[in-house]
């Protein structure tokens, strides 16, 4: 999923730097303010760990292997903001030193794998795991689902970035200047591979590591677990539980929507291109691309086969569903954090890593 230079237009790369910068700044500030100086080596070595997790080959049933990205794992263990810095660092080393992922596309890769992936995965993890005890199987399951969701959100973001290129950037004779495939091709291709293989591998590895730590090294699971740290079991209100499960259900449904793309003709929906306005809220640089949009899809892969007219509503729906979902996840995360910060400020405690026994 590491996007090399050359696939994305410089305009898109610039927008991605603008999107990523506030996350980097916030993550840096939080690490500085909230955290004691001991966190610096922890994050540095966490980044080294991120880099190495991507090297672990996981055997999969057809006799080949696949590797995981590990961002959700880091988010579960160290918290999502630490994951932003650790993953960005690992991605920068990969881009600069090993030619894995581009330098201009670095911010795009960071938005996909160092911001969206840990936050989406961690939101799911927290939603499912909140009242669970440290050793409950539900925690491992939550981490697994978090890894699965996180990787798929990240893959979808990459597919959207690729897919927008041909509709936004073409030369006068219609030659695509950057990545040539449109949304109707990139989203099904990326999502099929990630929904059925890569996401499962990510989920299995994330759940497996958490299971191992539950068995072998529980203090590590407490690094980022407030409730365990304070020695109190949180009692969530019933209303909150309902809301949580609703979001989990929504996440599942949203992730399953691309499956509908396999079955032609089942699409339903009318006001297609307007839905995609939502994606432009990431990429609002070139409004003229919007004009191209409707016309563009009629030239899509399936044009001759009779269901091109029904195609874009699915994509539009999917995109808006996912963007909405990520927005909800972020809002939930931010409000959790704000509430916690307020509580913490009231309690007047700034001690964060109590209970870390090496």
């Amino acid at each position: 999923m590491h996007i090399p230079d050359g696939y994305l237009s410089p305009e898109t790369c610039a927008v991605m730097y603008v999107v990523a910068t506030p996350f980097w700044i916030t993550a840096g500030r939080r690490v500085k303010r909230v955290v004691t100086s001991r966190y610096v080596p922890l994050i540095a070595i966490g980044a080294a760990y991120c880099f190495l997790v991507m090297m672990f080959n996981v055997p999969i049933p057809n006799g080949t292997t696949a590797h995981a990205a590990g961002a959700v794992l880091i988010a579960c263990l160290l918290g999502p903001w630490a994951a932003v810095i650790a993953m960005s660092t690992a991605l920068l080393i990969q881009a600069l030193f090993f030619g894995d992922g581009g330098v201009l596309a670095f911010a795009a890769n960071c938005v996909n794998m160092a911001v969206l992936m840990p936050f989406a995965g961690y939101a799911v993890y927290r939603l499912i795991t909140r009242p669970a005890s440290l050793t409950s199987p539900r925690r491992a399951l939550a981490a697994g689902i978090g890894g699965y969701v996180g990787l798929n959100v990240s893959a979808l973001a990459a597919a959207i970035e690729f897919g927008l290129q041909p509709s936004l950037f073409r030369s006068a004779d219609g030659t695509p200047l950057y990545a040539p495939f449109g949304l109707a091709q990139t989203i099904p291709t990326m999502m099929l591979a990630h929904l059925f293989i890569a996401g499962v591998v990510e989920g299995v590895l994330t759940a497996g590591v958490i299971t191992y730590l539950q068995r072998a090294n529980q203090p590590l699971l407490q690094l980022n677990d407030d409730s365990a740290r304070r020695g109190e079991a949180p009692v969530p209100s019933p209303r909150r539980v309902g809301f949580r499960w609703a979001v989990v259900g929504l996440a599942g449904m949203a992730l399953l929507t691309p499956v509908g793309l396999i079955a032609p003709g089942t699409a339903f929906g009318e006001e297609a291109p307007e839905h995609l306005d939502l994606t432009k809220h990431h990429l609002d640089a070139v409004p003229s691309g919007l004009r191209h949009y409707a016309g563009f899809f009629h030239n899509a892969l399936f044009d001759g086969y009779g269901f091109a007219d029904d195609e874009h509503p699915v994509v539009g729906y999917l995109v808006s569903a996912m963007v909405g979902l990520v927005a909800i996840a972020l809002v939930v995360m931010v409000s959790f954090k704000v509430v916690r910060l307020v509580q913490r400020a009231r309690a007047g405690t700034r001690e964060h890593l109590v209970g870390v026994a090496p």
């Binding site: 100086s37 966490g46 299995v204 730590l213």
Partner: protein, 307 residues
């Protein structure tokens, strides 16, 4: 080349690492073998990069900050170029620079072109068909349910443009990283307004990657040494991978704790300092000027060739 500090035998992959095709019957490499060869591959790349950065060449003599800024600018210029012909000229320029910087040309070309067919060629090839890229068909490939299928002129132009653009971009980054030692590159990131905290984290990460890489290698070699049967047990394999990733996290955390104690005992108070001894000389300014002029000429020529 004889002026490497790393002995040549360290840089050539061992036959024993790859049982497929070389010795005995051909079989699929297990996940253990793949991870071990991945680890040794990273080590080999780093050793080679260190060797090249220590040689005496044109790019090695330039201030790393200037190199960083020039590469960033050149990448943007490359991303804005719309003609494959211009890209080919730029690629020739990159290869010339590599030759002037004591980088073995064959190694430089191989490093870029081994990677491109896999990630770019396969992805871009289907897009040359008129089902993806509409346009005038130059190589008809028959019909499909009454629709004509073929390779279009626009598709070929697009494929050439993207493949060459990726090649030039990767070459530029490889030029930068092969001719600059990591510590100097890190120090130069300061000049691009990257906060100290990030630089500190980056530097420490790079330092400890190799330490942890050793741990990964040891775990996998131990597993390989204990494995007798050739038949794969995927479930056990996955358990092993998850457990070793978990154990590695434990090791990382313990290491972080020790490093923190060591830093504290040496007077670390959470503030990062860098020893900034880099100074610009006229050669650096000239190089930057040449880069700016070259990028501008490239863009002017590219626009001159038409939209």
């Amino acid at each position: 080349v004889s002026d490497t500090r790393t002995p040549e035998w360290l840089l050539t992959p061992e036959a024993g690492l790859c049982p497929c095709g070389r010795i005995g019957t051909r079989r699929r490499r297990s996940f253990v073998d793949k991870t071990i060869s991945g680890v040794s591959n990273v080590m080999r790349q780093v050793l080679r990069a260190d060797d090249v950065a220590a040689r005496d060449g044109v790019l090695q003599r330039i201030d790393p900050r200037i190199k960083l800024v020039s590469v960033a600018g050149a990448l943007i210029a490359v991303a804005l170029v719309h003609h494959a012909v211009v890209m080919v000229v730029l690629y020739a320029a990159a290869v010339t620079l590599a030759a002037l910087s004591a980088i073995p040309v064959w190694f430089f070309v191989k490093r870029v072109w081994l990677f491109i067919p896999i990630f770019t060629g396969i992805v871009v090839l289907p897009a040359t068909l008129n089902v993806i890229t509409d346009g005038e068909i130059v190589i008809p490939l028959g019909t499909w349910f009454g629709h004509e299928i073929g390779v279009t002129r626009q598709g070929l132009h697009m494929a050439a443009l993207i493949v060459t653009r990726v090649a030039v971009s990767v070459s530029l980054v490889v030029l930068l990283t092969l001719t600059t030692s990591w510590t100097r590159l890190l120090a130069s990131l300061r000049s691009l307004f990257v906060p100290r905290l990030f630089i500190l984290v980056l530097g420490m990460t790079y330092r400890y990657v190799f330490h942890l890489l050793d741990a990964v290698d040891e775990m996998h070699v131990a597993r390989k040494a204990r494995t007798v049967s050739a038949t794969a047990n995927n479930a056990a394999g996955r358990r092993f991978v998850a457990a070793s990733a978990g154990a590695l996290f434990g090791k990382s955390q313990a290491l972080a704790e020790e490093v923190h104690q060591a830093m504290t005992s040496r007077g670390w108070n959470g503030d990062a300092r860098t020893m900034n001894t880099m100074r610009l000389v006229p050669r650096d300014v000239t190089f930057l000027a040449v880069c700016v002029v070259a990028c501008s000429i490239t863009l002017v020529v590219d626009r001159g060739l038409g939209k």
